[in-house]
Amino acid sequence: MPVIETAKGPEWRLRNQREALTRWSFWLVGVVVFLWCWARISEATTWFFVWDAPSIAGDIFERATPPRWSYMDNLWLPIWDTLNIATLGTIGALILAVPVAFLAARNTTPSALFIRPIALLIIVSTRSINSLIWALLLIAIIGPGVFAGIVAIAIRSIGFCAKLLYEAIEEIDHTQVEAITATGASRWQVMVYGIVPQIMPAFAGISVFRWDINIRESTVLGLVGAGGIGLQLQASLNTLAWPQVSLILLVILAAVVLSEWVSAKVRGAII
């Protein structure tokens, strides 16, 4: 902590001049970048619509209330589809993620030089692309419908599940593995009796956690045509049927809250 000698005696400061200057210029650059970004957004905005926004929002709210409860009859099947997309997608993702995780973990990978980077690449690339984009792509390839949604969710979740799982594998207690190896167990037996029991709680936690996220994501997959309740949302939005939109949004909200509750309960029971 620098002390600056002034006429009135020594003065205590938090930073010396150079540190203060560096910080100050850092903030200046930050503010300039932000203002430039804001200017670009502002340029691309029709401000007339923005000033008009409160009345439009009020108008939409007025039209959207009360929700059209009778439309609920048409929603049970899409809800079932949404649940299936999330659950089957998660199962598919786990089946694909387990081998990837074992290949990516430093202590189980067959080759740290060649196979591990490939596994890490799979993890990064599946994780960085949103499930809606995967769905767009799969619809172009295998046609619209629930199946495209399931595959999209499955691919998108590989990276997430495999990343958390391989971190769990890397953190296992090595003495247990050594003990199993010392009994003369084969590579697979070491896997089943030494490694798997240690990562089982993490595995269960990850699956439920991802299932919760997938419920959330599968509710909107229909916007691009990949099945589920999003299809109804898109149709209602296109026909400006706001009472139906508000009902669907309420259903989605309920599904999200419910799945989060289930996931929290199950994880609490496991861990």
Partner: protein, 278 residues
């Protein structure tokens, strides 16, 4: 774990000698294990039966799938360079602006949502804001905001700012709640004002976590900004959507590679920064 109860339930060593060892099951109670298994199997059968798959369509699509995979080998950055450039810049602009605004707003809300700092009424309000922001997904908020504010990056910017608040405030509030009380107490004992108490007692303890979380959120915001264009909220998503609609897989592959590249770079950068501050 309760030691005595497990000792009662499990057999003694004398009883176990000579018997074959079995792996302990994940679910201890027998009826629950079978009920879960049967219930899950029944659900799986029902679920798979209800999914209609047009295998002929899937088979026909495999050609296009192969074409797409091949497109990754020779992505086309050039023929739509203008659209890609504009979309990418817009995505980055939305990411930066929404992260800054979101972080600035989420700090006071996090202070309000920390039980050990805020009085109960403020705590309830802030927790309410966080719950609403977390329950609504980005894309749905974007749809509503596009309907209200019109097409363009403003809707995307507002969406991501709103989403950032829920994410950052919740995690930051948890960090504040688990901070070391004695340091804050010591600062308060010097007769500090409330603002000084926050600045010297609380801030130094949570700043590393705040920086780490902010970097992580920038990363998420960029990924999300890539899809906002699908509903007209600006960014690279619109370009990507057009590329898919026109079956221009080489352009789509180029965009996806760019997104993956930027996400990887951001992740690396945030890893470096987090390692430095922690």
């Amino acid at each position: 774990m309760n030691v005595t109860s497990t000792r009662d339930a499990s057999p003694t060593l004398e009883e176990m000698v000579g018997t074959r060892w079995r792996r302990p099951p994940l679910v201890q109670r027998v009826w629950l294990r079978y009920a879960l298994l049967i219930g899950f199997a029944a659900y799986l059968v029902a679920a798979i039966a209800s999914v209609e798959v047009d295998w002929l369509r899937v088979y026909q699509g495999l050609d296009r799938g192969a074409a797409f995979v091949m497109a990754f080998a020779k992505p086309d950055f050039v023929s739509r360079a203008d659209a890609i450039w504009n979309g990418m810049v817009e995505s980055i602009v939305i990411t930066v602006a929404s992260s800054v605004v979101g972080i600035l707003i989420s700090i006071p809300i996090a202070l309000g949502a920390a039980r050990n700092i805020a009085p109960v009424p403020i705590y309830m309000i802030c927790r309410g804001i966080i719950a609403v922001s977390r329950a609504l997904q980005e894309i749905i908020v974007a749809i509503l905001l596009v309907a209200i504010f019109g097409f363009g990056p403003l809707a995307g910017f507002l969406t991501l700012s709103f989403a950032t608040i829920g994410f950052l405030s919740k995690l930051l509030a948890e960090d504040i709640e688990s901070m070391d009380r004695s340091q804050a107490e010591a600062v308060r004992a010097t007769g500090a004002r409330w603002s000084q108490w926050i600045d010297y007692g609380v801030k130094p303890q949570v700043i590393p976590r705040l920086i780490g979380l902010s970097m992580y959120r920038v990363d998420i915001n960029f990924r999300e900004s890539a899809i906002l264009g699908l509903v007209g909220a600006g960014g690279i998503g619109a370009t990507l959507n057009t590329a898919f609609d026109r079956y221009e897989y080489d352009t789509a592959a180029a965009i996806l590679l760019l997104i993956i590249g930027i996400v990887m770079a951001l992740e690396y950068l945030s890893g470096l920064i987090r390692a430095r501050v922690q």
